[in-house]
Subunit: 415 residues, 2 copies
Amino acid sequence: MLSYHTCPLATLGGKDTGGMNVYVRDLTRELGKRGIGVDVFTRSQDEHVPHVLHDLGYGNRIVHIEAGPETPLSKDTLAEYIPDFIHGIQDFADKKELRYDLIHSHYWLSGLVAIELRKKWQVPLVQMFHTLAVMKNRVAREEDEVASELRLEAEGRLVRESDRIIAATQAELAQLQWLYRADTNRIRVVPPGVDTTRFYPIPKDEALEFIGSPARYCMLLYVGRIEALKGIDTLFEAMALLKQEGFLDIHPICLAIIGGDPDVSREEMSTEMDRLHELQESLGIGDVITFLGRRDQDTLQYYYSAAEIVVVPSHYESFGMVALEAMACGTPVIASETGGLAFLVKDGETGFHVPAVDPEALAERLKELMQDEELRARLGEQAAIYAKEFSWSNIIDQILELYASVMVSLEDELA
Amino acid sequence: MLSYHTCPLATLGGKDTGGMNVYVRDLTRELGKRGIGVDVFTRSQDEHVPHVLHDLGYGNRIVHIEAGPETPLSKDTLAEYIPDFIHGIQDFADKKELRYDLIHSHYWLSGLVAIELRKKWQVPLVQMFHTLAVMKNRVAREEDEVASELRLEAEGRLVRESDRIIAATQAELAQLQWLYRADTNRIRVVPPGVDTTRFYPIPKDEALEFIGSPARYCMLLYVGRIEALKGIDTLFEAMALLKQEGFLDIHPICLAIIGGDPDVSREEMSTEMDRLHELQESLGIGDVITFLGRRDQDTLQYYYSAAEIVVVPSHYESFGMVALEAMACGTPVIASETGGLAFLVKDGETGFHVPAVDPEALAERLKELMQDEELRARLGEQAAIYAKEFSWSNIIDQILELYASVMVSLEDELA
């Protein structure tokens, strides 16, 4: 398993950590449960952390490979250490006398590593993009959000050279087909799983006590990275509309933001955070918004369960893990009708769709749901039932089938 | 599930935390996996910790009940808050409209709670003692180690009134039969399980890097509470013997002690720790002993795997969880031939037995094993294979069978 630019054990909500980290971690653990041995290779970002960790159990390892300075690096500079990373992996495998049967690679950076290892090891490569540059560029509003040429080229190469591509949704399959001219015979749609043994509806009183909130506090919740693409500004504008028309006087609600670190002053991190702080001030909604900073993934179920509604206002999401986790906790989701979210959230059944970047539409749906406790309860119950389709015990079967099929095809080819 | 005096989520190695905490935690999780709903009731020892926690997943809860001051208390004073604890549990169950099918109680203090709840709820009571007062008194060397009359009486009552008693080993069954005149028809021998998905042999280089030890460091390891009954003094005396005869000059080894908190000055805690510090000084072995303090249960597998030998020099253990965890990590164990340890460790196969409180015998076995790398490897391999018999997937079947049988007998009785 290759996860070059981010460690699956990293705390979430930071600049480069999110659904993909959870995915790699949970997938590895579930493979372990099924008796599949996995080494996850990731670039070492801290020399003080032991380089080999057994945190996921079942004999499976997270291996931190030294490639470039052992500190966090921006994505722009990461590509240059790929050759070192490849050498590091080969050294590890040689020293331990390991032979891998398959490479499962995440994101385009790991894909570049995978293409080289595939050639050297002559084993099949299964690629997942998590986000696609072309789709990201379509919604980019700032120069620095535009994907690099290097990335666009790398994704093109990966589409041609991977033995299989896993698309999270039918939407991603269509994008690969139309925007990347991918051979659909080599694409399989397998959605990410959700750990329903942890993400389940926790009784409201218990969840509220855990997060330290008063029992009658009505919470809207955003969970995710703090970046422009996530559309948090749209959510702020919707809150301002509700405040202006006096709705918040009758229905006192508060918006909690989980993600980012309010104290971090790292340049890239703070740009969007600063913008949001300014925005909440200019909109006059500082009193109804709380920035909670990062939270351990192992405590998120309490926040999702405590929330009345979880909002995912992204301009684009290839999947939308947060929406799935929230639904698993029995909380209705209002999400932009875009990318994976349009497939994942069932409009009127498990929450609502709203057009991206449309504060008015979002405000309307928030009002509708906040006024109607019964509707919230019904959508929430349906959400929890629906989310079980994505439990790992279901998803891992599909992954194993995919692995088996690609190994058989390669054998056929070689025969 | 009742665990009155100690929370299954507490950090190990403290005064009242050990194998029983791990047992209650793991058993609850495994029951969850099998679809059994469990609430674990424990006395609240910290008002700042949320009272209901979902850390074990599967909808199962750890419920901290307020009974007496929300601080740690000595076992002597704990009994007086049992009525408050019982009320707290009933309040919780009433408020949540819960009806339990079975009570599984741990240690005599919880047993006293269980007897009352059994009467009120008319459900079967399964009792585990973990240690038996009569056995403890037999090895007590200090006045304050002697079990109270209250405890002896309580255990007697529990032997008579429990619907089933789980004995960890055949030794415990025999003790219940001969010392407590228990009806053996109501006793089942079910050993504790070990989480073999986490406790498995980690490659030595990886384990040593994790714990931050030089690669060629030969480590003996003790893990457990710091108290007289554990016989750590015997281990120190054995080390002194090895040092005196020059063995440590040829085989440089070091003894690491995990457990207790070197900085804690709480009276009861420090008595034995002080004694050990004085002893290591008077024996002149301070240079070969390191007190590491407590370690998170989730990191112990690295220490077990890094160690050449794990020593369990207890005067008495009803089971000996540390020996099982160490064996699961592929490390041979030298253990006192007493209580559960005499059953658990297979002499000459997975380690060695030595008579309790016999430094000479222990020193001899340490020498034998330290001199013979091949023997260590062979015993370690055998230990890892043997420990798999105690994997939870095996053990939980036996527990479920026991639950089913006691519920059926009660129905028969009522019919």
